[in-house]
């Protein structure tokens, strides 16, 4: 971004005026886009505190006084258990983020450090399977899990993340640039086992990559609707947050369809992630574009 500003000093007054007008216009456009992004979130927070009647008749420009009622109402519902859903979602997202980052790092390390026969072919193979979307094997997966009696259990939602080609690819790229081969050699000479080298030496080094991928994997799992909705159909104890969001959308019974509660559910679904994002957005955005700047 820091560029030498050749040509700037030669600008005439009229050119400067043109530039300033452009700049102002751009700021206006940026503000509109930012408002578009922020307004829905603001709306969730204000409407969460308002009564159904108020939400239905006016825009949530400011807060109401129904926060406590809406929250207790949401958690008192029996057709969906919000507390269970939060627990389930947390378990699945944590487990799947941990498994995908750990095993991807392990696999990337295995291919990066040990140059065994066929390791290059395996790397190319992983690049190919990266392109296969998980949805196309969903039928076989659901069928298999049903036959194994794994419907309405949580493990089919996170164990498959052991194989995460995208995370693997990131780890591999990262290791190519940071892995200290001399240190690994030295540790071997000192008698450290390969497993110990990986866990005590390599993992601490690649913590930045793990952190970025952990966040992305967590978000992906937390937001996933399709696979859980195919596997979890056993009632309120077996739901994740996206399923509750979908279930809350049922308008068939207007008596129980409470707008305030719907906004509490949306709040619980999106705000925890957004708070984490605000704290490490720099980090995440850097992770998004990292590598390209280096190249």
């Amino acid at each position: 971004m820091e560029r030498t500003l050749i040509g700037l000093s030669r600008m005439t007054r009229s050119q400067k005026v043109v530039l300033n007008t452009r700049r102002t216009l751009i700021y206006i456009i940026l503000t509109i886009l930012a408002l578009l992004c922020l307004f829905p979130v603001f709306e969730v927070i204000t409407n969460m505190t308002r009564s159904t009647g108020a939400i239905a008749t006016s825009i949530g420009f400011w807060f109401g006084d129904k926060l406590v009622e809406n929250w207790t109402g949401t958690f008192a519902r029996t057709s969906f258990r919000m507390d269970k859903a939060i627990m389930n979602s947390l378990i699945v997202a944590f487990a799947s983020a941990t498994l995908s980052t750990y095993f991807s790092a392990l696999t990337a390390y295995g291919l990066q450090v040990y140059n065994f026969k066929g390791s290059r072919a395996i790397f190319t193979f992983i690049l190919v399977i990266m392109m296969i979307p998980t949805q196309v094997s969903a039928v076989g997966f659901v069928d298999m899990m049903t036959k194994m009696g794994a419907k309405n259990t949580l493990w089919p939602l996170f164990i498959p993340s052991i194989c995460s080609p995208v995370v693997f690819f990131y780890m591999k790229q990262y290791m190519e640039s940071v892995l200290p081969m001399e240190m690994i050699e030295a540790a071997r000479v000192d008698g450290a086992s390969e497993i110990r080298i990986f866990h005590q030496m390599i993992l601490p080094i690649i913590v930045p990559a793990i952190a970025v991928q952990f966040i992305f994997a967590f978000v992906g799992s937390w937001n996933n609707l399709l696979v859980p909705s195919l596997l979890l159909d056993g009632g309120p104890n077996f739901q994740t947050i996206p399923i509750v969001v979908a279930a809350f959308n049922d308008r068939s019974n207007p008596q129980t369809f409470d707008l305030g509660q719907v906004y509490v559910v949306i709040f619980l679904a999106i705000i925890p992630l957004l708070v984490i994002y605000l704290f490490c957005s720099r980090f995440i955005i850097k992770g998004m574009t990292e590598g390209s700047v280096k190249g």
């Binding site: 560029r3 500003l5 040509g7 530039l19 700049r23 751009i26 456009i29 940026l30 930012a34 992004c37 829905p40 709306e43 239905a56 295995g110 291919l111 040990y114 065994f116 390791s119 395996i122 296969i132 979307p133 998980t134 949805q135 196309v136 094997s137 969903a138 076989g140 997966f141 069928d143 298999m144 498959p160 052991i162 194989c163 995208v166 690819f169 790229q173 390969e194 992305f216 978000v219 992906g220 937001n223 609707l225 399709l226 909705s229 996206p242 969001v245 979908a246 959308n249 049922d250 308008r251 949306i266 679904a269 999106i270 957004l274 720099r282 955005i285 998004m288 590598g291 390209s292 190249g295």
Partner: protein, 381 residues
């Protein structure tokens, strides 16, 4: 065998390369178990009538019977198949609408109708997305503009990408409800009067879903294009500025041509994501696909078939999806290849690098883009 005298050290340690295999084994077990085998099963099931049936005499039971290609095409209108006349029975020969214009009784299987509508939604979201993202990427990287607080803008604009698509769909469903906030705003501005149902109009239904897609992805695309622009050799911009090239001319004659590879990446990966659109349309239209199923996507159809325990037909649909995705991925590969072979020296040096170090045969920029985009896709869908 016993002629080889083993030193104690050798006996204690496995050959180093064995560790490589051990480290990658869990990954491949998971791959075989949860991806390869289910994928193979899906292909296998696509040749079977495999579904749960409820009959008055025998109760509920599963049937699994080999039927060849009947899941894909069957001339018999009593057999539901993807492309046969039986395929469009479930929406009862209704008139079909594209953007509110009746295309008559579409004598095509409804899967084609779903595909057309899925693509329309994608295009409606993607065109504004690519234009806005390109403009933002150029502005953020423009040295002459020197915009303030780019970090803030980027943070805010990337944020919707993290919002749960299902929650986004529900939120917009409420905001665009017939007397919801948006209608009220439009009322107060005098554009509308009274209630207006976005959901019961094909065009507006597409529009709102496309708007959600736009909001979710334009920040992501901006970041990708920015990394593409920053990957361009800065001296080119500097010499252009010295030669008196204005912003417009620099954009059309330098930035855009050099950005072409990453641009095509964005288009094709977004298209792959677009074909898989599910959460937003499912929640926004409450599962029904809106007016005349106009916002019912291919993935909605697939999920419905699975949930109704019709594994045979859903497998056939999965195979169809697999082929579409494979074509798109291959075109991505070839487009990238063609761009690369433009510069033969560079290409051969990269091939050499690939042979020698097993590196992905692309520039560091390609790899980063690919990685980031793939990541974005996985994150949202």
């Amino acid at each position: 065998m016993d002629t080889v005298a083993r030193t104690p050290k050798r006996r204690k340690r496995m050959p180093l390369n064995m560790w490589g295999w051990i480290f990658i084994i869990p990954f491949f077990i998971a791959f075989l178990w949860f991806q390869a085998v289910p994928l193979g099963e899906t292909f296998y099931f696509s040749f079977f009538k495999y579904m749960k049936v409820t009959s008055a005499t025998k109760g509920t039971f599963w049937i699994q019977k080999f039927i060849g290609w009947d899941n894909f095409y069957s001339a018999d209108p009593n057999v539901s198949s993807l492309f046969g006349p039986g395929g469009y029975q479930d929406i009862g020969y209704q008139n079909m609408y594209i953007f509110g214009v009746s295309v008559g009784k579409l004598y095509a299987p409804n899967i084609i109708y779903y595909l057309i509508n899925t693509m329309l939604i994608w295009i409606m979201g993607f065109i504004p997305q690519i234009i806005v993202s390109l403009a933002l990427a150029i502005w953020f990287t423009d040295a002459r503009l020197k915009l303030k607080a780019t970090g803030f803008w980027k943070t805010v604009m990337y944020m919707p990408n993290l919002i749960m698509a299902a929650a986004f769909g529900l939120l917009f469903n409420l905001m665009f409800s017939s007397s919801g906030p948006v209608v009220q705003i439009l009322n107060s501005m005098g554009i509308l009067s009274g209630e207006f149902s976005f959901m019961s109009n094909e065009f507006w239904c597409h529009f709102v879903i496309a708007l959600i897609n736009f909001l979710m992805w334009f920040g992501n695309t901006t970041l990708l294009l920015m990394s593409g622009i920053m990957g361009i050799d800065q001296s080119i911009f500097e010499s252009a500025a010295v030669d008196g090239s204005g912003a417009q001319r620099t954009f059309w004659q330098i930035t855009l041509p050099l950005l072409k590879p990453i641009f095509l990446y964005v288009v094709i990966t977004s298209l792959i994501g677009g074909v898989q659109l599910y959460d937003v349309s499912y929640i926004f239209t409450q599962g029904g696909g809106g007016m005349n199923q106009s916002s019912y996507t291919i993935m909605n159809y697939l999920a419905d078939l699975i949930q109704h325990n019709n594994y045979g037909l859903s497998s056939a649909l999965s195979v169809f999806m697999f082929i579409i995705t494979a074509i798109l991925s291959l075109s991505l590969y070839f487009v990238n290849n063609r761009n690369r072979s433009a510069d033969k020296d560079v290409a051969s040096s990269r091939r050499k690098r690939f042979r020698e170090y097993g590196e992905f045969p692309g520039t560091a920029k390609d790899i980063a883009t690919f990685k980031a985009m793939k990541q974005g896709m996985e994150g949202g869908k």
